[in-house]
């Protein structure tokens, strides 16, 4: 069976694109997904027969494509989408997981659920209505979640005579808004989900549009902002031991790469060891990378439990005692300042509370306004105080170690989703005695680079100071010749004092002791 063998292999190696729909209710999201699946022949005939029968008896039309994804009884009865539907399809070029999301404001949390694992947002706009608040809210949430590829589909072009002017006006309207988001790449396309224009085939009704049809674009688009393969992070999920002397730490690699024999540090104990084995059912590995699920064994016997973090000795996440984060509130009970919530971050769940709402975002124009607390579907930047520190990164640099959910301990509701923008490091003796602070050295002519790194570190909340020759000569080393031993010793002593109190040093000088 050579034929199917190669088919199977090909199916395995083409890449996967997860995308989520977004936009206001009735803009045609479900219809478009139904159309895409129908036209690409991805619906089984028995399922199609059911849809056609229902369309004829209840909708008075041959086929209502939205029924393909609106799978719940109440959705079909009310003709709306309430919760996310996950659909799968593939073409010879790509595999797709589509999440079709609801447009109603009251179901915003379901939209966020669908978008959280997507790498592209397919935003629909009704050509007759243009950009509305829900378009903006969903675009903003997609942007906050880190989606950097947007497709903006202006739908129902059949109802505006396929007018180029209508399309162009909506494009400029959306462009004016999206300037306030992060730097997303946006592909604009005029379509009719109902009639099929520009969905799979180029539309004969809109010869003025030169771009590729939707499916063609989705098959070929380059997706940016993927995995972090640089910083190795391994939140311990499950400790596997008992009986004999096997002891392994099970988990999923959040980011980065790890090799057998590499030196690692375990947080919060700060102890170091070496990877002795990377165990899997299929045999031990020489190296493993995100997002593999493996079992790590260490050379040394260290006390490690679920919620601990394994990272490389010279590249650690921050031990954060408090955070600033963008938060989407998803519970009907509003946020209570000062109340104890549970914060689930990687594999650890800790107590924490909101000390302050720094500002709330107005989805209309992403402007910031003051707010006491957040209510259902509101988005804001907040300060979080943690009772136990977590091992975190900034969301934009690491989605997995930069995100958390908030659980109300009284109702068990998932109350909010958070994306870390800044952290405050716990002083070393409080959380982790052995965490080494760093002296980051730059040659004297790399002052700009050194300052930029210092800015980045302190913006993220790392305790650090900046030192260069000018500053030294003005103060500690006034009158001391730069090439003397005294000069370089003074620098070393300064670093010693500062790092002892848990503060890192960004040092820019050529006059160091060898």
């Amino acid at each position: 069976m050579k034929g199917s063998d190669s088919l199977v292999e090909r199916n395995q190696n083409i890449d996967l694109l997860r995308f989520a729909t977004a936009g206001s209710v009735d803009d045609g999201k479900s219809t478009l997904i139904g159309r895409l699946l129908y036209d690409s022949k991805s619906i089984f005939e028995d399922q199609l027969d059911l849809i056609k029968t229902f369309s004829k008896t209840h909708r008075n039309q041959d086929i209502d494509y939205s029924l393909v994804t609106d799978g719940l009884k109440s959705e079909r009865e009310q003709g709306i989408t309430i919760d996310v539907a996950y659909r799968f399809f593939s073409t010879p070029k790509r595999r797709f997981i589509i999440t079709d999301t609801p447009g109603h404001e009251q179901y915003t949390r379901n939209m966020a659920t669908g978008a959280s694992n997507a790498s592209l947002a397919l935003i629909l706009i009704d050509a007759r209505n243009g950009v509305v608040t829900q378009t903006k809210r969903h675009s903003f949430i997609s942007s906050l979640l880190g989606i950097r590829n947007f497709v903006v589909a202006v739908n129902k072009m059949d109802l505006v005579d396929y007018s180029e002017e209508v399309f162009e006006n909506i494009v400029s309207e959306y462009n004016a808004f999206s300037d306030k988001l992060s730097d997303e790449s946006i592909y604009y396309i005029p379509i009719s989900a109902l009639k099929g224009d520009n969905v799979i085939e180029r539309s004969a009704n809109m010869p003025w549009f030169q771009g590729s049809p939707l499916l063609d674009y989705l098959e070929n688009v380059n997706i940016s902002g993927g995995r972090n393969l640089t910083d190795f992070r391994f939140p311990v999920q499950y400790v596997n031991w008992g009986g004999d002397d096997f002891r392994g730490y099970c988990g999923t690699i959040s980011s980065g790469v790890i090799h057998k024999g590499e030196k690692v540090r375990v947080l919060p104990s700060g102890k170091t060891s070496e990877i002795s084995k990377i165990v899997t059912y299929d045999g031990d590995l020489d190296y493993a990378f995100a997002p593999m699920a493996v079992t790590l064994c260490l050379e040394d016997d260290i006390d490690i439990s679920r919620g601990d973090m394994i990272a490389k000795v010279d590249d650690l996440p921050v031990i954060a005692g408090s955070l600033e984060a963008n938060v989407v509130w998803m519970d009907s009970a509003p946020m209570e300042i000062g109340k104890d919530y549970l914060i689930k971050h990687t594999t650890s769940t800790v107590k924490g509370n909101f000390s302050e709402v720094l500002h709330e975002f107005d989805p209309e124009d992403i402007s910031m306004k003051p707010s006491e607390f957040l209510r259902l579907n509101e988005i804001g930047k907040v300060k979080v105080e943690l009772k136990t520190p977590i091992f975190a990164d900034i969301y934009s640099e690491n989605k997995i170690t930069g995100s958390f959910i908030v659980i109300d301990p009284h109702t068990n509701q998932t109350a909010a989703a958070g994306m870390i923008t800044k952290y405050n490091q716990v002083s070393p003796d409080k959380a982790c005695k052995a965490v080494k602070t760093k002296v980051i050295r730059y040659p004297g002519d790399k002052r700009e680079e050194a300052q930029a790194n210092y800015d980045r570190l302190s913006m993220q909340g790392t305790h650090c100071i900046y030192v260069d020759d000018d500053l030294l000569l003005e103060t500690l080393c006034k009158g001391i010749p730069v090439d003397s031993e005294q000069y370089s010793d003074t620098i070393e002593d300064l670093c010693k004092i500062v790092t002892k109190s848990g503060v890192s040093v960004v040092l820019c000088s050529d006059h160091l002791s060898s």
């Binding site: 028995d46 059911l50 694992n117």
Partner: protein, 302 residues
């Protein structure tokens, strides 16, 4: 794609495998008393295989539970006992003995009532008796329209019921495992697998499955447009020998076979790739009403 990304690339199946293993471990770590539903079918074989992988080199730390209606194919019982013994899995079996004593079967009370007694009630009783707070199921989102709507962690109230209109948000891979005493969750580690993924995985990993999945000449009768296998000589008249196989396995009264020549995995996969009907078409029970699966799920069925 950069060179670095290219050399640290995971195939689709390996990515799905990692995601499933991660879910299985998370539940084992966060719940007191999990159990894995084992229906003996291909998805169960894959799920059990993933559990074995997740805890290798140690034993799977939770039991497998088979809800036995008493009407499964004889080959399924034989395979169940062989497979669980072979992999050192802790198998528990539960039946609604009371209903069986009353003679409940699809022939006597119809499929809807029969399922309610022998599957849903048996399942709810078994979960209650075992005190299980989390139960793994092998359902996939591509199977059926209401399953396409379900979360990976699906909450059930004290009566084991699902409320599809009020599911908790589920962002990234951060699962909320907080429940009140008496409540439980159903967990679907295979949510994002398609039927084709299951078959190619079985092929790659050499996972054993019940021989009924492979085409063979079998005695059947044709009923409701389905091929129903015959195990007694009741229907001698209409019985004919047909080369056929099963796409899903359930109770012998309610599961039809399809005409097929596919007697090896590659042939099955090839057949799959051109399939025009969903696998559930061979389940007579799903076709009772338009929302029959959703209704059953609301009542506590998987």
């Amino acid at each position: 794609m950069t060179i670095k990304e290219e050399s640290y690339r995971l195939s689709n199946l390996k990515t799905l495998e990692a995601e499933s293993i991660s879910i299985i471990r998370e539940v084992a770590a966060e719940f007191e008393n999990p159990v894995m539903l084992y229906s003996v079918g291909k998805d169960s074989s894959v799920m059990a295989h993933l559990a074995i992988k997740a805890f290798y080199p140690k034993k799977v730390p939770f039991p497998l539970l088979h809800i036995d209606t008493g009407y499964k194919f004889p080959e399924m019982y034989a395979f169940r006992d062989y497979y669980t013994k072979m992999h050192n899995l802790d198998l528990k079996v539960h039946r609604n003995e009371e209903a069986l004593k009353k003679g409940i079967s699809p022939l006597s009370v119809g499929t809807v009532k029969c399922c309610a007694e022998l599957k849903t009630k048996a399942l709810l009783d078994a979960l209650k008796e075992g005190g299980y707070d989390a139960a793994f199921g092998g359902a996939r989102r591509d199977e059926e329209k209401s399953r396409a709507k379900e979360r990976i962690y699906s909450f059930r109230d004290k009566h084991g019921q699902w409320n599809p209109k009020d599911q908790k948000p589920e962002l990234w891979n951060l699962f909320n495992s907080k429940i009140d005493p008496g409540e439980s969750i159903r967990v679907f580690p295979l949510s994002n697998w398609t039927e084709l993924d299951i078959w190619t995985y079985i092929y790659h990993e050499k996972i054993e499955i019940v021989p009924l999945y492979f085409a063979k000449k079998r005695p059947v009768i044709e009923k409701y447009g389905q091929l129903i296998p015959v195990y007694t000589d009741e229907h001698e008249e209409e019985t004919k020998e047909v080369m056929c196989r099963f796409r899903t396995l359930g109770c012998h009264y309610c599961t039809g076979a399809v005409r097929s020549e596919a007697d090896t995995l590659p042939k099955i996969i090839e057949e799959m790739m051109v399939a025009r009907h969903s696998e559930r078409i061979t389940r007579i029970i799903d076709q009772d009403q338009d929302s029959s699966m959703e209704q059953k799920k609301k009542e506590g069925y998987f």
